[in-house]
């Protein structure tokens, strides 16, 4: 007897967040990266529409990295000492379709760059590379509230994805993103209730829910990945059942979490495998945008995505 496959149909849809604006849309980007838009759980192609593949953003900093693993430094060679060269290597050599710029150099402990210098950096980078940008603060709330508004303004009209808004500090960032036409990352500490609450708080300020990507906060393989996995799965099930306040695509900071682990530091190969497996596991749980560090890991994951979507 033939087995009958039970297919689930969902009433909800995940919002599509478009990152980058081309000339026609008032920006200067060469391409637009779309994430989200699906009407089914991850990879269940027969249950709905999955219009966009998971995307990879290469993580770069506005300064030469201080605490990167030797293996990462080797992968980029001399370029890593010059952030602009680093960005160009990602785009030209590794074919990054999206960059994730972390303004680490503005952090009080990492050089304490002024907001003006940060804004200038963003303008120059936008001039030098043409792929869409994700722009992140340094994680210091006080400084980010000074830096991010001017960085947002420097990228006005480029429809970047800017983060991270957190429950205790979101108003300044939301106001900038609204004024300058960007999208926002809403970060919650592996907590679905806070993720939902923050999305509501942001939309109450007038930013459409369709312009939010959720950073659920992940752990690398072996470091609580399964907690993030179940939070993401639960949020996605609720969203597909019709909860619009959770129907945002997910951005996952894979590289940053992976290269903290002692396993990744054991050997170059193991680090790459660790980053690859963390990313591919998160694809299974619904990650839409993976921010990665090692070009070889990014290549592995990119191939994996192609294979998953070959059908």
């Amino acid at each position: 007897m033939e087995t009958q496959i039970v297919l689930e149909k969902w009433p909800g849809v995940i919002s599509t967040v478009s990152i980058g604006a081309t000339k026609a849309e008032g920006g200067t980007r060469s391409n637009v990266v779309k994430i989200g838009g699906q009407t089914a759980m991850p990879l269940l192609f027969r249950e709905g529409v999955i219009p966009n593949k998971p995307k990879i953003a290469f993580e770069i900093w506005d300064i030469a990295p201080l605490d990167f693993d030797e293996e990462l430094l080797c992968a980029y060679g001399k370029a890593i000492r010059d952030p602009f060269a680093w960005a160009e290597v990602c785009v030209n050599d590794y074919k990054a379709e999206l960059l994730c710029l972390k303004m680490q150099g503005t952090h009080p402990d990492f050089g304490n760059k002024t907001p003006q210098d940060a804004a200038k950096f963003v303008s120059t980078l936008l001039h030098k590379v043409k792929v869409p940008l994700v722009i992140l603060g340094s994680g210091d709330d006080f400084k980010d509230n000074l830096v991010m508004p001017v960085c947002s303004e420097a990228a006005k009209g480029e429809r970047c994805l800017i983060g991270c808004a957190v429950q205790e500090n979101y108003k300044t960032l939301v106001a900038s993103v609204l004024a300058d036409g960007h999208n926002i990352i809403a970060e919650s500490p592996i907590d679905i209730n806070i993720a939902k609450q923050l999305n509501i708080l942001i939309s109450d300020m007038g930013l459409a829910l369709e312009r939010i990507a959720i950073n659920p906060t992940i752990g690398a393989l072996g470091y609580g990945l399964e907690y993030a996995y179940s939070i993401m799965e639960r949020a996605r099930l609720a969203a597909l059942s019709g909860d619009k306040t959770l129907a945002s695509p997910f951005i996952c900071f894979v590289g940053q979490e992976t290269w903290k682990t002692k396993e990744a530091k054991v050997s170059p190969q193991q680090g790459i495998i660790w980053e690859t497996l963390t990313a591919t596991s998160l694809i299974q749980s619904g990650a839409d945008l993976l921010v990665m560090r090692h070009p070889q890991a990014a290549r592995n994951v990119s191939k994996h995505i192609e294979a998953l979507f070959r059908e």
Binding site: N193, K196, Q197, D204, R234, A238, D243, K244, T245
Partner: protein, 262 residues
């Protein structure tokens, strides 16, 4: 919970006036207010005072669908009136209602199929209102069997165990709640369940409190849908909270607002 707003009914003076004067604005304002407060569908009834429901119900349908595409629940005991409403409707429809009488089922089930309408089946027949849970289940089985035999999709059938006023039929409240629970188990796929909530508090003094307490208990018994006053904010807040406790929605501090953003 699928919320059907009950306020467009000729037994209310504003709607009776609108019907008499053919004042669409009054009906449309009432429709939009209910929707903004959380109604997923709107019940339309000309009420007992209407002299010509064959014309009045389609007029209500047309007035309301000018301002919303929400489903319309066509409320009349007369199949001919319902058919006139169905003819006028562009929105999705729910027939409110058939009884368990064969002669009614034989007209309304084909009508629901023809117009692709959902159908409310009230567990009542010419013998009158059932007095306990078993009688309700018996009548539910009559409706379900008839629907099944005539290829009506069971998931589009809403069974109503008839909510009785607590000051009239206090001893039946548990039977009604029990019926809601057991209606879901008498067939697979299971039918949906609905009640006309305001009946529960008819003639009582603390109407809103009785309504929301009953609704909470009914939701816990598995109720899918209710015809109620969506403008009663405390009632809606209670409903949203009851569903939260049943894990139907994910908690956040602003869960009331989150539900309303849906």
């Amino acid at each position: 919970m699928f919320i059907i707003g009950e306020l467009i009914n000729g037994m209310y003076s504003n709607i009776a006036f609108a019907l008499k004067e053919r004042d669409k604005k009054i009906v449309q304002t009432c429709a939009l207010e209910q929707i903004s407060n959380g109604a997923d569908a709107l019940d339309l009834s000309c009420g007992p005072a209407s002299k010509n429901p064959l014309i009045d119900l389609p007029w209500l349908v047309e007035a309301v669908q000018e301002v919303t595409d929400k489903p319309l629940c066509l409320d009349s005991g007369k199949p001919k009136v319902i058919e006139e409403g169905l003819k006028a409707a562009k929105n999705k429809t729910i027939i409110n209602s058939t009884t368990a009488d064969i002669e009614k089922l034989e007209i309304l089930i084909p009508l629901a199929k023809k117009y692709q309408s959902k159908l409310i089946g009230i567990t009542i027949d010419t013998r009158g209102i059932p007095q306990n849970k078993d009688q309700r289940l018996e009548l539910a089985a009559v409706i379900l069997t008839h629907a099944g035999e005539n290829d009506f999709p069971i998931q589009d059938l809403y069974l109503d165990p008839i909510a009785m006023p607590v000051n009239v039929a206090q001893s039946q409240m548990q039977d009604i709640l029990g019926a809601i629970h057991e209606f879901k188990m008498i067939s697979d796929p299971s039918p949906k369940t609905v009640i006309g909530l305001s009946n529960v508090s008819q003639g009582a003094k603390l109407r809103s409190l009785i309504n929301r307490t009953f609704l909470t208990m009914a939701v816990a018994s598995g109720l899918d849908s209710a015809i109620l006053d969506p403008n009663d904010k405390e009632l809606l807040d209670t409903l949203i909270t009851a569903e939260l406790i049943l894990n139907k929605n994910i908690y956040c501090d602003s869960y009331l607002e989150a539900y309303r953003k849906k």
